[in-house]
């Protein structure tokens, strides 16, 4: 059996053909890619350089690390006598005074895990708090880990819920900002869980179309092509280009597990403030696994005054190179804001690929 992600999705000849066609496009349009992995893929494959100047791709709020308020770091650093287990991306995000990595250097017990399941294992030896950041892609695995903890009656394990939902964030973004967007590249792996029908509000409420797409160059180029066709014909619909893994309704088993353990709540987004019904917290039934209750953690909406313009980058209002600190004071080795820290942050992607 062959790899379904085979090289054909990178076929240079096919890419040339579709690029030649897109080069004919003249009307200036703005397309937002929501997902950080798309931002990285667009940079990696040099897609911006393949498109005509009339088509601009701008990055949106799709990086969980970037949209996490920095007060989360400060709260974690205050925890005493527990192990903090987290995905690696988070440990270099600056809090008010230091990063988790710096706090670890002076003795805070921080361990990087690849999976929430590893964090549950760590809890066998020491009281462990897992940092629950992520979009819909990551949430079901964490919810399932909470179920497993409950089955094992593992009292030493809890999750700090900082889960975010993409469709309400897009809704908030479009209702607050005049970004004059003409289309969306919609996040492939979020959509695996929530399904392509979750974005119907884009055409229905805002008259903007979107394409759920994959991460190979042909996926992205084809999505852009579909959007230009929609614009040409005055249409706006949601198209699922990534149907090899995404369907209309998403993964029902995963969604059921989320519903069992978590509940929709307002959530704090860095740069965007409190967005109604845009996050998930742990429900009453599983509250003993909720670190925000166990350790009385409340996140505050305040960011240190560093001059970082991440907030505007996340909203698509500026591109990273418009930030005066970009590539001067702020670099991946010495990041000032989360958008430069995260491997999928827009500033990191621009630094790596588009300078």
């Amino acid at each position: 059996m062959k790899d379904p992600n085979n090289k054909k999705f990178r076929d240079p000849q096919l890419i040339n053909k579709i690029v030649a066609d897109l080069q004919k496009w003249q009307q200036p349009i703005k397309i937002m890619e929501v997902c950080g992995s798309h931002t990285m893929a667009i940079g990696h494959w040099g897609i911006r350089k393949l498109l005509p100047p009339s088509i601009s791709l701008i990055s949106g709020p799709g990086c969980p690390v970037c949209v996490t308020p920095s007060s989360l770091i400060d709260e974690l650093i205050k925890l005493k006598g527990v192990k903090i287990a987290t995905f690696g991306d988070l440990i270099r995000v600056p809090g008010k005074e230091e990063t988790l990595e710096q706090a670890r250097a002076r003795g805070l017990d921080v361990e990087i895990v690849y999976s929430p399941l590893e964090a549950l294992k760590l809890a066998e030896k020491k009281e462990t708090v897992f940092v629950g950041i992520g979009f819909e892609t990551t949430t079901p695995g964490i919810a399932q880990t909470i179920l497993l903890a409950a089955n094992q009656k593992q009292k030493n394990f809890s999750v700090l819920p900082a889960f975010k939902l993409i469709p309400p964030a897009l809704d908030a973004l479009l209702s607050e900002e005049d970004l004059s967007l003409d289309g969306f590249l919609l996040p492939g792996h979020v959509s695996v869980i929530i399904g392509s029908q979750s974005y119907n509000l884009l055409p229905h409420k805002y008259g903007i179309g979107g394409v759920v797409t994959g991460f190979e160059p042909l996926d992205i180029l084809r999505a852009v092509k579909i959007l230009t066709e929609q614009i040409e014909h005055g249409e706006a619909t949601i198209v699922n280009e990534y149907n090899r893994v995404v369907n209309r309704d998403g993964n029902k088993v995963a969604r059921h597990i989320i519903e069992e353990v978590l509940q929709v709540n307002d959530a704090l987004w860095r740069g965007m403030g409190l967005i109604p019904k845009s996050g998930l917290t742990i429900n009453e039934k599983y509250k003993e696994y909720d670190a925000s209750k166990k350790y009385e953690i409340m996140l505050k909406d305040e960011e240190a005054k560093t001059g970082c313009r991440c907030a505007d980058v996340l909203k698509g209002k500026i591109i990273p190179s418009d930030c005066p600190l970009f590539a001067s004071k702020c670099t991946p080795a010495n990041p000032i804001g989360s958008c430069m820290v995260s491997s999928e942050g827009s500033c990191a992607a621009y630094y790596k690929y588009e300078r």
Binding site: K17, D21, G36, P64, V192, E241, R244, V245, N251, E344
Partner: protein, 83 residues
């Protein structure tokens, strides 16, 4: 962070098993993909298989690309474009 990668299922016992990830064997949970069989391709993320990858749909998508490219070949103005 939402990166998920394709891997082939090499062993499955209930909701647990292993995938082959670029030659190394990785333990994975199949909670969300109870229908998965050994030999299938799945998309994995943080220790879980998120969905089965449909080869049929992958092939069909590729066919669409090829048809599009063939169509472009037939357009005369394109012949002048450097490849």
């Amino acid at each position: 962070m939402c990166l998920a990668i394709p891997a082939r299922v090499i062993e499955k016992n209930g909701d647990k098993g292993f995938v082959d990830l670029g030659g190394s064997k990785k333990e994975i949970m199949f909670t969300f993909t109870p229908e998965v069989k050994e030999g299938d391709w799945v998309l994995i993320h943080t220790g879980f298989a998120l969905n089965v990858i449909s080869e049929k749909d992958a092939d069909e998508t590729l066919k669409l690309f090829e048809e599009f490219a063939d169509f472009q070949k037939e357009l005369p103005e394109n012949n002048e474009r450097p490849e």
